[in-house]
Symmetry: C2
Amino acid sequence: MVGAEALVRSLIASGLDVCFTNPGTSEMHFVGALDRVREMRCVLALFEGVATGAADGYGRMTGRPASTLLHLGPGLANGIANLHNARRANTPIVNIVGEHATYHRRLDPPLHSDIAAVAGAHSRWVKVSESAAQAGPDAARAVAEALAGQGGISTLVLPADSAWNEGGEVAAPLRPAPRRKVDEQRIVRAAAMLKESGSALLLNGPMLAGEALELCGRLAAATGADLLAPTQIPRIERGAGRVNVDRIPYVIEPALKRLENVRRLVMVNAVAPMAFFAYPGKPGLLTREDCELFTLAAPEEDGADAVRRLLERLGARQAAPRREPLQRQAAPSGAFTLPGIAAVIAQRLPENCVVVDESVTSGRGLIGATRNAAPHDWITNTGGSIGFAMPVAIGAAVACPDRKLLCLEGDGSGMYTVQALWTMAREKLDVVTVIFANRTYEILKGEYQNVRAGELGPRALSMLEIGNPALDWVALARAQGVEAARVRNLDEFDAELGRSLGSPGPKLIEVALAG
Amino acid sequence: MVGAEALVRSLIASGLDVCFTNPGTSEMHFVGALDRVREMRCVLALFEGVATGAADGYGRMTGRPASTLLHLGPGLANGIANLHNARRANTPIVNIVGEHATYHRRLDPPLHSDIAAVAGAHSRWVKVSESAAQAGPDAARAVAEALAGQGGISTLVLPADSAWNEGGEVAAPLRPAPRRKVDEQRIVRAAAMLKESGSALLLNGPMLAGEALELCGRLAAATGADLLAPTQIPRIERGAGRVNVDRIPYVIEPALKRLENVRRLVMVNAVAPMAFFAYPGKPGLLTREDCELFTLAAPEEDGADAVRRLLERLGARQAAPRREPLQRQAAPSGAFTLPGIAAVIAQRLPENCVVVDESVTSGRGLIGATRNAAPHDWITNTGGSIGFAMPVAIGAAVACPDRKLLCLEGDGSGMYTVQALWTMAREKLDVVTVIFANRTYEILKGEYQNVRAGELGPRALSMLEIGNPALDWVALARAQGVEAARVRNLDEFDAELGRSLGSPGPKLIEVALAG
C-alpha cells in the first residue's frame, strides 16, 4: 500500500472522515486513494481559505477534526487566515499539506518554501512524514494531537515520495490526552468568590453548550452571579429554553460599561477579557482595575468538571437554571433599520438552526433580538480574520445535514472568500447567506475615529469605501450556481428570508442597505 | 509628526509612491496620512492576495518597489501566495504590516499572531518598528533592502502606537547595495566553454530585457550558443525586433528533449534548470548527466557586466544580434483549437503591450505563436502559486499607464483572486483579461498520470473538475464592474479581442472551451 493510502485509511481509523481540499500535483496520490477508500468524504473548494474555514466550522459543530488537503506552502498560506480563527476557537483540525518529494526539495524548485515554519504560527503540532512507512502512524498522531486538551490544529506535511512509495501501513487510533482536572483549592476559592456580591462567571469554549452550560445556569441561579462570555466565542447554544449568557460587546465603551460592576470574575475555559484593539487613552483589559480575576479552569483544563464540583461544594446541584422564554416579536415593516433587520432575523430563525455571524456593524442589534428566538447555535469570528462566515457555514452544514444554516455576512468581509458560494452550490448545502451590502468598510469609519487618526479626508475615506463600483451580490451568487435575490426593505427581506429558509439548497439574499 | 506620517513621507523620499492595500484598524494612521501626503498613490483591493500580486507586477515592470499595506498577521497571510511568486522573481516589494500597539500585544488579543515568523518565509528583511521615531528610518531601510542586489521583499511591521505616537522623523533615502561583479576567472572559463560546440546560455532576471538581452544576442551571434530561459521568468522582452530566447517547456519530456544536446550550460542570473515537480523514475535536473554547468553570474551578481566583459574577451562587442522578423499569420477561423487561440492572440497583440500569462494548459501554443508578433513584454508565474495573473496585471497597468495589458488566465487559477476584477474597474485600468474556461483543473489530469497515481476513478476525477456548477465569468466580471463577453469560437474571439483591446478600461472575455 502506498503511503497516501495508508494515511487516508489511518485517518478513517481515527474517526476522521471528511476532507476539505484544493489539491495540486503533490496531492494526487491522496486524491487517487479516494476511489479505494470510499468512507472519506472529500469536498472541493476553489480557494484554500474556503477549505480551512470549512474545517473550522465542521470541528466547532462536531468536536471532531476534519482534514484539509492543501498544495505545498502557498496552498497552506492561502488557508492561514481562517486557520488563525480556528486556532483562537481551539478547533481540532488536521491539515495535510503536500510537499515536493524529499529528494527534490534540495533543488529548491519554484514552489518550494519552508512549510513547517509557516505552519508553526497556527499549529500546535507539525510534522513532516519523511517516508511512506511514517505516513499512517503520523496521521493517527495528527488526529490525537488535534483532539488533545482543549483541541487545536495539527499539520502533517506529506512529501510526494512518502505519498507514492510502497510500504505504507494503516495505524490504529491513539488516545488523545484529556483535559486536565483542576485542583480542589481552585474550587474552594471560586466558591468563596461567588458568595460575594458583584461576582460574574466568564465562560468560553465548551462551557457555552450542552450540559456544561446547564451546570453554569445552576451556578448562576444558586449564587446570583452574572454569566458572561467574550465577544469572540467558538459556538454558543442560545434562544428559548436555554440558559442566557451575555456576550461582552465589541465596542470598547459599552464593553467597559458592561463590566463596570463586576468586582470578582471567575473564568472558566476563558482568559481575561481584553479590548480587541488598543485605542489611545483607553485600557486594554476590560475589567475594572480593582476587579479580582480568577481562573477556575484555563482553556486546556476541564471546566465542566470544575463547575460540577463547585456546585457540589455549594450544595447547589439541584438549583434550577433560569431558561429563556420564547417571545415572538411583531413583524417589522418599512425601510431598513438595524433593529428592524434584527427583528426579521429573530422572527424567522428556524428551530435548531446554526447561525454563523460575520455581520460586523450591520448585525449589532442581533444578539439582543435573538435572545428569545427559537433555540439555535451561534458561531462567531474568534480571531478577527475576516472572510470567515461563508466557509465556516460550509463546514457546519456538512457536519449537520439535518439543520438549517444562516450565514450573516458583511459585503466587505464576504469578498475575501467569495468562492465559498460555489462549494455551497456544488454540495447543495442548506445554507442561506445574507449579505449586508452597505458598500463600505463601515466598522473602519468608527475605528478611524477611535484611534484618533484625525480628520477623515477624501483620500482616506476612499480607502474605506467599496461602493465604486458597486458589487452585485446577486450576480456573484448566480455566477457560482447559488439562487439569489436582492431586497430593498424590511418587508421584502422578511418575505425572501422566509422563502429561502423554506426550501432546500443554498440561497443568497443581498440586503441592499445602500443605493 | 506621527510615526505613520513619517513612514509615508520617508517612503516617498526613497522613491516609493504607490501602495496596494487592504487596510484595517491598525493601519488607520497610514490611511490618514494619505490626505496630507498626496504624492502617495494608494490602490484598494478587496483581498490581500490582489494587493501583493499587484506589487509584484509593479516591481517587475519598473524595477522599483511598490508598498503593500496589510492588516496584521492574517492580512499578511492572505498575501503570501503572491509574495511567494514575487520572491521567486526577485521583485522589490516593501510590505507594511500593521500590528497591535506594543503594549497591547502582551494581552494576546484575538488578532495577535507571530507576524515576523510568517514574514520570514518570503522576506529577505523583516523588522518591527518599536517606536514612532524608528518608523521613518525603518521605511528608508526597507526600500534600500528591497533594492539591494537582485531585489527582494522587505517587511516592516508597524505597531499601532508606533504609527500614532508623535516623534516621527522623515528619513533620507539610503543607497542600496549593488549587485556584485564577478571575478575575471569566471569570464575566462565561460569564454572557453562558449568556444566549444553544444554550448548554451541560460538567462534569467534582468538578462531578459533591454541592453542585457541585446548583449546576450551578440554573444549568441558570435559563438553560436543557444539562448535559453527557464519556464518561470519574471519578465521577458520579445517579439519582432527582439533577440529570441527559448523558454524551456514546463512538461518534463519536452524539457528533457530541449536540453538533450546541451553539453555546456553557462548560467547568467539563473540557476540550474530543474523539473517543476518530481515524477517517479524521472530526473530532477533537466540537463543531461554529463552536461557541464557553470555559473557566470549568480542571481545576486551583475550578469550584464559579466556578459559585457565576456564579449570583450571574445572580441565580439560588435557582433550583430539576430532579431526576430515581424510575421503576420492568417486569421484562424472556426471551432476552438489551442493553435487557433494562440494565433488569434499573436495577431491581435498590440505593439508594446504587456502579457501576463497564467493560461496554464490552454496557453501551451502561445510562446511559439507570438515569437514573431509585435514587440511585447511577457510575464510568467515564477513561483507556481496560482491566482497570479489578474493581480499582477493590476500592478503592471499602474506601472505602465501608456501600455495595454493582456491578462491570460485559466478559470481554475482565476478564481483564487477573482476579486482583482473589482480593482481593475475601480482604477479603470487598461487590462483585457481572457479567461480560458475549460471547467477543469486540466493540468492535474496530466499530472495525475505523470506521478502514476493509478486509474483516475470517478471520485478522484471529481476533485479535478470545476464544471459542476459551471462558473459564469461574464457575470463574475460584470458583478464587479468590468465589461465582459463570452465567445464560442475563434471568429467571435478574434472580433471580441479586437474590440476589447480597441477601447480603454478593463474588459473580460470568457473563452468558452467547454459547454
